[in-house]
């Protein structure tokens, strides 16, 4: 078995890299794939929180690199899904504790036992980014329809294109707000895709459910009713090669919206 190593990156912080990582990883594992996630954000680890695994971490990636434990010992199994593992970042060290070579070696070892290795990249374009990208051959660039996020994504794409190891990269547009796009107050999906001229792998709507799911430490893909959860599930299906159409975000969701639509339809007829 030779697993695919995918780095999830963005340039700008706070656009949803870690959320994306947790959800795509969980979705792939739910489909029966063996998945390991590597948190490379040394000193600012968060992937453990999103997965609800913060109390189970004994060893981190730095312990592996400094040979205080074996690689397998440091892999934390998910509560629900035995197909899913996490290799946590150290919280007390900085980005220099692990080198590009070491990360590459870890990825190569994990490729033998897993279908997917998802590397959670820190924000920025400095050493943390260079390390995270080192072992990967594919990339998902997360951005939102905001100027600063798109600009940073463009920078990241430029850097990824310069890397020989990265064979392909795809764009994931996060926190999309259909209402704002409709009122011309937010760049549309097409705008962003045109500006970055990159292939799209997912459109994730803004969803308050993300906040509650983070609070609980349970990725939103486990909630089948959630629109964002469905969107992340679709991304995972596209990753394994399925042809899945993008969600139509314009349809009103929720009971209130449906009732409103029903009544506005009636009113229209009366006239």
């Amino acid at each position: 078995m030779s697993g695919r190593v995918i780095v999830i990156t963005s340039g700008k912080g706070g656009v949803g890299k870690t959320t994306t990582n947790a959800n795509i990883g969980t979705a792939l594992a739910r489909m029966g794939k063996k998945v390991v996630m590597i948190d490379t954000d040394l000193g600012l680890r968060n992937l453990d929180l999103l997965l609800g695994l913060e109390n189970r971490i004994v060893y981190t990636i730095v312990d592996v690199v400094e040979e205080r434990c074996k690689l397998k010992q440091a892999l934390v199994k998910d509560k629900k899904n035995p197909n899913l593992c996490l290799l946590a970042a150290a919280q007390t060290r900085d980005k220099s504790a692990v080198t590009q070579e070491q990360l590459k070696e870890i990825c190569e070892k994990l490729q033998k036992d897993f279908d997917f290795i998802l590397v959670d990249c820190p924000a920025g374009i400095e050493q943390g980014f260079q390390n995270a990208v080192a072992g990967a051959s594919e990339a998902i660039v997360v951005t939102t329809p905001e100027m600063s996020a798109v600009r940073d994504a463009d920078r990241i794409i430029g850097l990824l294109e310069a890397k020989e190891e990265i064979k392909s990269y795809k764009l994931l547009l996060n926190r999309v707000r259909p209402n704002l796009i409709k009122s011309n107050d937010m760049m549309s999906v097409d705008d962003v895709v045109e500006i970055l001229s990159a292939e799209l792998i997912g459109i994730i709507p803004e969803d308050t459910g993300i906040i509650t799911s983070t609070n609980k430490g349970e990725p939103i893909v486990n909630d089948e009713k959630s629109l964002a959860g469905q969107a992340y599930n679709n991304v995972a299906r596209r990753i394994i090669g399925e042809d899945v159409p993008f969600l139509n975000l314009d349809e009103p969701k929720g009971v209130v919206a449906k009732v409103k639509k029903f009544f506005s339809g009636l009113m229209g007829k009366e006239k």
Partner: protein
């Protein structure tokens, strides 16, 4: 409720008319982003653009008399590619004598520069043998850039001489 709906539609109509007149904030964002990304992608800072503009003025002034302040140099999106657009308001074409004089002056300056750089090379060779390789590389790259200019200058010289004969 019907009245309220009607009221909303009227208000909505006027709001729409308002937004049609102004550029939406989305379009503003898109256009600002496009410009800023063009600059990001070319690695040309505003200072470098200004320097390039000045050098263009200097170069072109040898051949035409132009409004130096009005020369515009901008990066623009041309389909998929980024294009460097140069707009030059020409006041009048210079006559042959003027062009010839300007070119001769240029050649003199260049000869003086070459002499100076040769002397500098000799000095550095004396200083250290290790750096010789680097110096040679640099010289080559400089020559590569200068060559096309020299050729065009020579051609221009020949044509102008021919015409005067």
């Amino acid at each position: 409720m019907i009245l309220q709906n009607f009221y909303n539609k009227i208000i909505g109509f006027f709001r729409q008319a308002e937004t049609e007149q102004q550029e939406s904030s989305k379009d503003t964002a898109r256009n600002r982003l496009k410009v800023v990304l063009m600059q990001d992608r070319t690695n040309l800072t505003p200072e470098l653009m200004e320097r390039m503009r000045k050098e263009m003025v200097e170069l072109l002034s040898k051949y035409v008399e132009m409004d130096k302040e009005a020369l515009e140099l901008d990066l623009e999106q041309d389909g998929e590619q980024v294009a460097l657009m140069l707009s030059i308001p020409v006041i009048r074409a210079k006559d042959e004598e003027e062009i010839k004089a300007a070119l001769e002056e240029e050649d003199k300056k260049k000869a003086a520069l070459e002499k100076a750089s040769e002397e500098a090379d000799e000095e550095s060779e004396e200083e250290s043998d290790d750096e010789v390789d680097d110096d040679i590389d640099e010289d080559e790259s400089e020559e590569e850039i200068e060559e096309p200019e020299d050729e065009t200058l020579k051609e221009d010289d020949e044509t102008s001489e021919d015409e005067t004969k």
